[in-house]
Symmetry: C2
Subunit: 331 residues, 2 copies
């Protein structure tokens, strides 16, 4: 199943089921008012959602409408927690170069993960406000999972049963600030403004065999002002999503609707390009001796879309956003 | 005004107004269903809440009942964000000794702040579940503020107008894990299980002249198994709450209900004692040559209560909790 969220004035928006081909949608609020509630009550509502999705697919839902992704909010406009890993080791190694720092202790054997703000997610076509171009505005293409309630100390082997949805993420980052915050040990805060999400949150079966070993085996196409930044595969995660969930739940329970991110999708093969500009910049430095790519400027356009290995568009829909100066902030 | 939250099966609980002497309460759900909603709609609901509080104080509310703090949830059982500073420099300096590490860059001139989980706060009498005593279970007594909507890049000078409520916090910490997480640069995650709150969230006027210069000039009495750990003053914050709010809002808006913490209350005067065990332990090491105080064990009782400088009980009520082994986790 594919789910989207339209605005209705509430903090959680209203729930839609979207057809497999992403062309049509049906209001599902009679089953659950919003996606957060659906995840909270998953076992109870899933059969009803599946029946409605089947009817939508069969073309027998009179109330079906055209799906307009430009109207979509983030599938979960707010979530109980947003915990973002850094599971692609290639990304971490390049970031060590970018920040000119020594490797993170135990980086290859224990996941790193930061707690992000989860109250103010942006939809796939929303403008993205920033205070200053001097902060090093960057994009970060990722995959993520939405879990239902996960008990404290749940092991990785039991975690797959809690993965209800898969999502596609742009975890906007401010690199200049991040380089200052990281050595302070309290994690990223000012370096992480609101995070954006592709229009559709989907059940794992929508990925078919590309949901494999707790990873999304999809290619994340990333464009800046229409130019390709990269198309890296989600397969190279050193830690699977179940392993990231177990890491997150080691000392706390995760309430239903918690989102766990992969960190920036990154492949060892340079031909894959990058899913963030910081990586692209450090690759230029390493391979060509100088950084050519600037960070983002106000007015820049960023597009992201996952694709299946055969080139078909992925299940999450497309993100198409512009970087803008935050309202009310002096130039 | 003093506010408390009782359980009603919802994630946000139901709103009570509590009398100044903390003995009586009245259901306020006809004005706002819960405290989060009240903070979100503060300008609209505040006059109605104030009128009901006045009637409760005057003894003319027929529906008033005895207030039972043992039934209270955290005033906000969940919040949009929980951002915790470390504004007492004395604490930071002692922690550098405790973790045997070099000082945090710019610690005395730029606040440090971590993003905590905000979906699963504990009430003042709730048992506090942990996975293992080997993680270095510690308490951290703090003050905090609850803000309404704060726009991105709001300066400190404009931040006081956004402080709606003041709260008292026990920011439970796992010190063994924290010492591992801090050098990794992604912040505290496993080191920070659910945070606890005193029963009452209060408007700043409840502190009288002890709400001063954006700080809570109260003494935080902390007991472990009935023995005094400390009674440090909230006055010594190097950064005021408005400065912490401005730090948090530098690159993001804060949605209404966001909680900003002071970090562990700590005074340079050793006679004040400590508001966490890690501090007490490092003071023992520095002053007596050896650590005598162990971290917390299952069954230990932790009490916290703020007091006015003249010794009267503070406005937040008392926290009285036990450390327990998490259900379902093998010994």
């Amino acid at each position: 199943m594919k789910f989207a969220t339209y605005a209705d004035g509430s903090l959680d928006g209203r729930l839609l089921i979207v057809s497999r081909d992403q062309s049509r949608a049906v209001d599902a609020t009679a089953i659950a008012p919003n996606l957060l509630t659906a995840v909270q009550r998953w076992r109870e509502v899933e059969p009803h959602l599946a029946r409605l999705a089947g009817e939508l697919e069969a073309g027998v839902v009179a109330e079906a409408v055209a799906f307009d992704p430009s109207l979509a909010l983030a599938p979960l406009p707010r979530a109980p927690q947003w915990l973002d890993g850094s599971a692609f080791l290639n990304h971490g190694r390049l970031m060590d170069h970018a920040f000119n720092k020594s490797p993170i202790p135990d980086f290859e054997t224990t996941p790193v993960m930061y707690q992000g703000a989860s109250d103010d997610f942006l939809g796939p076509h929303a403008d993205v406000p920033f205070v200053s171009e001097d902060d090093g505005i960057d994009l970060e293409g990722e995959f993520g999972v939405v879990v239902d309630e996960v008990a404290m100390a749940t092991p990785a082997a039991a975690a797959p049963d809690h993965i209800r949805l898969i999502v596609q993420i742009n975890d906007w980052s401010l690199r200049i600030i991040g380089a200052r915050e990281m050595p302070r040990g309290f994690g990223f805060l000012q370096a992480k403004p609101s995070t954006s999400f592709a229009p559709l949150a989907v059940t794992p079966d929508e990925l078919g065999p590309c949901w494999c070993d707790g990873r999304a085996d999809l290619f994340l196409h990333v464009l800046r002002n229409g130019e390709r930044i990269g198309a890296a595969s989600g397969r190279e995660m050193a830690f699977s999503f179940p392993e990231l969930i177990a890491h997150a739940a080691r000392t706390r329970r995760l309430t239903a609707g918690t989102i766990i991110g992969s960190g920036t999708v990154s492949n060892a093969d340079r031909a894959a390009g990058s899913s963030c500009l910081a990586e692209q910049r450090v690759i230029e430095l390493l391979d060509q001796g100088a950084v050519r790519t600037p960070f983002l400027s106000f007015g820049d356009r960023v597009e992201m879309q996952a694709c299946f290995p055969d080139g078909r568009p992925g299940p999450f829909g497309r993100m198409d956003q512009r970087v803008v100066r935050a309202a009310g902030v002096p130039a």
